[in-house]
Amino acid sequence: MTDKPTNPEMVEDVVEEIPPLVPPWILLSLAAVAFIAVPVSALATASFGAISWGALVVGVLLLVLTIVLAPQQAAGFLTGRSFRFGSTSIVITVFFIAFLMVIYGFVADQNWTTDVTQTDDFSLNQAARDVMAQFGADPTIPEVEILAFFTGAQAIQQTQLEPLLEDYEEASGGKVSYRFINPDRNVQAAQAYNVQPGGLVLGVRSPEYIAAQQALADGQPLAEFVPLANTESLSAFEASDQNQITNKIVEIVASGDFNVYVYEVDNGVNLTPQSGFVQTLERTNWNFQQVNLTDLTAVDTDITLNDTNLDGEVLLFAGGSSALSESEVALIQDYLDNGGSVIIAADPDGEEPSLASTEELNTYLSETFGLSFGEGIVLDPQNSVGGSIATLAIQNIRQTSDVMAFVPQQAVVILDVPRPIVTAENRPDNIDIDVGASTATISYTKTLPELIEGESQQDDDDDTGPFDVIVAAENTETGARLVLSGSASPFEASLLQGQGIANLEAGVGMISWAMGYEEFETPANLFLPELDTRPQDQPVFADPNQLATINFISLFALPFGVLIVGGVVWFTRRGS
């Protein structure tokens, strides 16, 4: 009896007939379940976490196991009729859809987002980005947290706000952080901050708050709720404006006490708390207070000039049509002699001398600081604007001037009926002069009565320019600072701010220089200027011809043109 030779093909056939240890369909079904679990767990936990990764790994391993245990079945599976149109195709389809969901879940978790709008609707504009960069670089500025309260029904608003908040975090180098809180789930926080859904709460991350948050992260319950410090809130409507958010951040981190005493004058600029100028500066802890002679000199007054407890103070005369009294002049003299800071902005003389024309005042200023207000009103044909020869748009503001440090290059400062400022040739040696703005060489002066009479043309006997219209002086011995402005216009910023006009910056610059703000540790220009009007913000206007053309194209040319083409095509092919 001989042994039959082994037939390799038979052996191979025998091998093929051995069923796999575990039927492939079971392994594939389990893999499908695992892959479905990936996006479900990611959605449930709002992140591609350990469970999602675990399910993904399990699914992949099951796939590999299938192929290893049943390689030929796997190959036949993918090419066979069962896969293409059998019941297995349903499993494959589910598996494929689950795989697509895995890809989607992974990418969604990365939250790759970009704002392509020209108007930076969902990202920081350059001005805000610069301010945030300053914040990040300044070690004295505390950390800020933005709490955004959005319910589940406000997913749309949350989607649109999150890229902007991410930008704050990135631009500030992490100094500004954010967190979304669902007020429906975290009722305690919503009540503690008294914020409506869609609103924001901004505050300083105090050491107590940081410790409390760390304790919560470690799972330790807190005895009492610890809120952010120095909080400010924004409504849902305000939260959609990044300027509002940035200004609030500036407001809550601003430190220091700075007082601006606005002396009550006749017919001067109305610097009330409602004025845009005052509101802009109060964001950074500048306090505006209306004062008069009694407020400053009474025995029981609360106000102390040259108060060492303050970080800075200045006495501001924003215009004034009446001359100062002897007592008022004496007050100014005493204040400046003791190292105080004064800003005097002039109004033109009427029938009576204005505040800036007070003889005793000018005599003192000239002798002490080498400055005084000149006669008349400066007319500058080169720099006049708005059809009025007495309204000047001063360009080329001195970039080397400290008092004009906030005025951007290429910007103009509007000065209405400015008076010239005279710098004495022989002034004390301890006085440093800083000229902020001057008129053109072809400028000249006229008196107000002459202008009222219509005599604006230059005469031979008129004083000629250039004239200084914003000048600052510092007594290097006493530290006293004086700023004279030929016009009160820089303090009427709310009316004159706009594209390329920097009156607000000029006013802020004068005040900050006068009180020595540059010596304070907080970054100097912490206020956010209003954005220039963007083309996309311009309202739509159309004349009747434009409307008629648009009407014709939209309602007739396009739709009926297509219909006519269709009709022609149908007509030409109707026989075929």
């Binding site: 149109f85 989607y104 319910t151 739509v540 206007f541 939209s554």
Partner: protein
Amino acid sequence: MRGIWAVFKRELAVYFRSPIAYAVAFAVYFFIGLLFVGNLIQVVAINTQLLGGQGQQFGQQPIPATVLFNATQLITFLMFLIGPLLTMRLIAEENREGTLEVLMTLPMNESSFVIGKFLAVWGYYTILLALTVVQVFLLSWVGALDAGTIATSYLGAWLYGGAALAVCMIWSATTEDQVIAAFLGATTILVLYLSELGAEYANSLTASGDAGLLSTIFRELSLTAHYGNTLAVGLVRAHDILYFVLMIVGALFITTRIVETRRYRG
């Protein structure tokens, strides 16, 4: 590739010979034009009044041109009608006429057939969408638009349309009856369009106002959640674009499986 191209060319030519395609285009353009012109006249009147000092006491702000651009939003809204109308005959007609088997004798597989059909209808939709750019030029004539927003709005509308058309193709492959295919396609698109409302409804049913995973699923499935609040307003999220792409891929995969099954089962 050759098969895809052959089917694409054939089908695209059929669209431009089909009266339905022109009727759909006319209706879409007329509807968009009607709303556009009506809104424009109203806005110009309001802005003119504000310029004259009227209405400011009510806090009314002047209205810019960006508010008036509505072509892409309207087209995506109308996809629940446009999609079924354009796709209802795509495969259903082949099934009914029995020409599917004839086509399958050509040297191409089912996936090429389906992809070619899809590209043809998507191509027609692309042309339909592209002509609405007339509104952009008209608005730029009387105001200023945001170029970034316009670009992403069109990109999103194009992808949205592709996804809707791909989903409608599933029903066209499922049935021989074009009306049923159109109806089911319209229903599906409408459900996906309104899915975000489903999320809000789910939230309203819970005591905490947040239905958690359920509302998240509804929202992630929604067509509008991936377009109306993001791409349409200039906010580009990678997973929004991926959503539409994967929707197209998934729908075409399902359609291919259906065609194969119907073909080999007779």
